[in-house]
């Protein structure tokens, strides 16, 4: 048996899902957090049944890719748990009525029940049950209230089998229902709502956005540096380095195992960035360079997501994003891309048209460096001076803008306008923020570390057998003449296909000038997606568009690298 969780976007389906299945999924306070579907299972009586967290949809007449996914899933389900936002009953009931017109048993979870009290909304649940003819359970998914009752009611799910209605008939029926069951009393604005009002004003909004983004960046930087300087570097240098040196002695420098595990050791000291062994650089990059930035980045992102600030940023950015052939909501995948491009490209599903998705995915892959790349850029370029980091970021930003304007001119079709629901501000719960942070850190550890170690191993084996020389000599003319990089940088660019952080790390032992380091960082960020991004681009854009997108990336990287080589 298959139970589907369906409802409008941002009503808490994923929270209900986590409660039912104990499978934890990313939940946030903006419509469109769930763009794919998540599967789990729960115990019902003595059987295990499948539960599916379906992306949010306002209607069964789909208007976005995510809504199409929802509609397709509906045909495969046996029971629907329709999660409804109790504070916005009228709008939510539209989907409920559409579901009741289908011949599928339905249970309604009247979620965010606690919020109705603050908002002076009174709902007569018994009356609603009578009128709709299906079980109605008030729930507060974030605290777990009503979940037990919801599970018990699943066996009573029914299909009242109402005939199909026209749009007008549905709204008339809904008006009739809400008149009978809902009663709203006056109440005062809460403090959060007053902040919300201020941030909706154009000037206040811009000032707030600049403050929030600058504050976020500084916080990530400060926490990241603090973790590196006070925790991870001391750990590696004082505890790990002596062990490595002892191992180095027993393996013997020059042996193949030494080459692969430890790499280069110069005059009795380990340089964790440059040695390039599995146990040195292979562990140092993920744990001591990238992880210290992953932690604060996802902490700050989680807070932005859960407060409900991101949709407001989308409204503010709308005018600029239109110049790039997108609308304001594309800022959400873009922000996710600063963490990792893979979920960012998946999140482009919240955009309505193929054209927008192509532009957004291409811009993200080219100009939005992931947290791992950024951590390496901070480490390598930052060591030469903060102004050079600013040049790298400034260049990437300029590429993002210029390429967006060009794509908007060149790509056929037009982009639809922004139309989004803005959720109320909420105070993020500490538990929820920390849980999400942990899920993302665990995701990084599980997915990135095997590839990082694999990349370091591949590099060492290819070097040991001299295979790189052939590649280097083949591509060297382009790299040296256009980009002004030494020919050894070719191998770094090639490894960029596996992991950008490792590839950037490969620039470290090359003794590059600052100019070359800047060009190398920009080219590695823009040139080609890493393998994980490549796979998701292929899946989301399909072969032809993915090839186009990659062609644009390579061209853009060569042009930008060439320009930097001329002007710096």
């Amino acid at each position: 048996m298959k139970i589907l969780l369906m409802g409008n976007p941002n009503v808490g389906k994923s929270v209900v899902f986590s409660r039912l299945t104990e499978v934890h999924v990313i939940v946030s306070n903006y419509p469109g957090t769930t763009v794919g579907y998540t599967q789990g299972s729960m115990k019902l009586g003595d059987k295990r049944v499948e539960v599916i967290d379906v992306p949010g949809t306002y209607t069964l007449e789909p208007t976005t890719e995510a809504e199409e996914v929802a509609l397709r899933m509906l045909d495969s389900g046996d029971i629907v748990i329709n999660v409804v936002n109790a504070t916005n009953l009228e709008r939510n009931l539209y989907l409920t009525l559409q579901l009741l017109e289908r011949k599928i048993p339905v249970v309604v979870a009247l979620n965010m029940w606690d919020d109705t009290k603050h908002r002076g909304i009174h709902i007569d649940v018994d009356k609603l049950r009578q009128l709709l003819g299906v079980p109605i359970i008030p729930t507060v998914a974030t605290t777990g209230q009503g979940i037990k009752e919801l599970v018990e009611s699943i066996s009573q799910a029914t299909s009242p089998d109402i005939p199909p209605h026209s749009r007008e008939e549905r709204w008339a029926a809904i008006g009739n229902i809400t008149d009978q069951v809902q009663h709203i009393t006056h109440r005062h604005h809460t403090r959060l709502e007053r902040i919300a009002d201020a941030s909706a004003k154009p000037l206040g909004g811009t000032a707030l956005a600049i403050g929030v983004l600058a504050g976020s960046f500084l916080a990530v930087r400060a926490i990241g540096e603090g973790l590196i300087n006070y925790v991870l570097d001391p750990l590696f240098n004082r505890l790990w380095a002596p062990i490595i040196l002892r191992l180095s002695g027993s393996l013997g420098e020059g042996s193949l195992p030494h080459h692969i595990l430890i790499g280069k050791v110069t005059s009795g000291e380990v340089n964790f960035i440059e040695s390039f062994g599995l146990l040195t650089t292979g562990l140092y990059i993920p744990f001591a360079v990238v992880l210290p930035y992953i932690i604060p980045f996802y902490l700050v992102l989680g807070l932005l997501e859960d407060t409900g600030y991101l949709p407001r940023l989308a409204v503010l950015m709308d005018t600029i994003m239109h110049r790039l052939g997108l609308h304001g909501y594309a800022i959400i995948p873009t922000m996710l891309g600063l963490g990792c491009n893979v979920p960012a490209i998946l999140a482009t599903r919240i955009l309505e048209s193929k054209r927008e998705r192509f532009i957004a995915a291409t811009l993200i892959s080219i100009a939005i460096p992931c947290a791992a790349s950024q951590a390496m850029i901070f480490g390598l370029v930052g060591a030469r001076g903060g102004q050079y980091v600013a040049i790298v970021y400034g260049t990437l930003f300029a590429v993002w803008l210029t390429l967006g304007v060009i794509l908007n001119r060149v790509v056929k079709g037009f982009s639809p306008e922004l139309l989004i629901e803005i959720p109320p501000y909420r105070l993020p719960s500490r538990r929820a923020v920390l849980r999400k942070l942990w899920m993302r850190i665990r995701g990084f550890l599980r997915e990135a570390i095997p590839i990082i170690l694999g990349a370091v191993a591949v590099i060492n084996i290819l070097y040991a057998f001299g295979i790189f020389n052939a590649v280097v000599n083949f591509a060297a003319p382009v790299v040296t003449s256009i980009l002004g990089l030494p020919k050894e940088a070719v191998t770094a660019i090639a490894i960029g296909f596996l992991r950008k952080d490792v590839a950037l790390g490969m620039l470290a032992p090359l003794a590059l000038t600052t100019k070359q380091l800047i060009i190398g960082s920009v080219v590695l960020s823009t040139f080609f997606p890493c393998i994980a991004t490549f796979v998701v681009l292929l899946r989301e854009l399909k072969v032809t568009n993915m090839l186009k997108s990659v062609g644009i990336m390579i061209t853009a990287a060569l042009i930008v690298g060439g320009i930097l080589n001329l002007v710096l």
Binding site: N88, E90, R91, P202, V315, T319, L419, I422, P423
Partner: protein
């Protein structure tokens, strides 16, 4: 002549409220707006606008919705 003044959503001042009278757009636009509860006969309050032809925000029911500038131009509202 209609009894009440009809203007577009874009022309409304923040703080003004009105009833949606008509949506001058194709099936796609009507469908998308309808899904968010924006339909003829629905009461709305304009809550804000942004600079440089940016989106306008309205309150519909208990939800706040941001609508692109061009779309806002196609929504005719009767002031109340």
């Amino acid at each position: 002549m209609p009894k009440r003044k009809q203007i577009t959503l874009r022309q409304m001042q923040p703080g003004q409220s009105g009833i949606v009278f008509q949506i001058q757009g194709g099936h796609g636009l009507i469908n998308r707006l309808n899904a968010l509860g924006i339909r003829p006969g629905q009461k709305i309050i304009k809550t804000g606008s942004t600079l440089m032809r940016g989106p306008v925000t309205i309150k519909v029911g208990n939800a706040q919705v941001a609508i692109g500038f061009g779309m806002a131009n196609k929504i005719i509202v009767e002031l109340v």
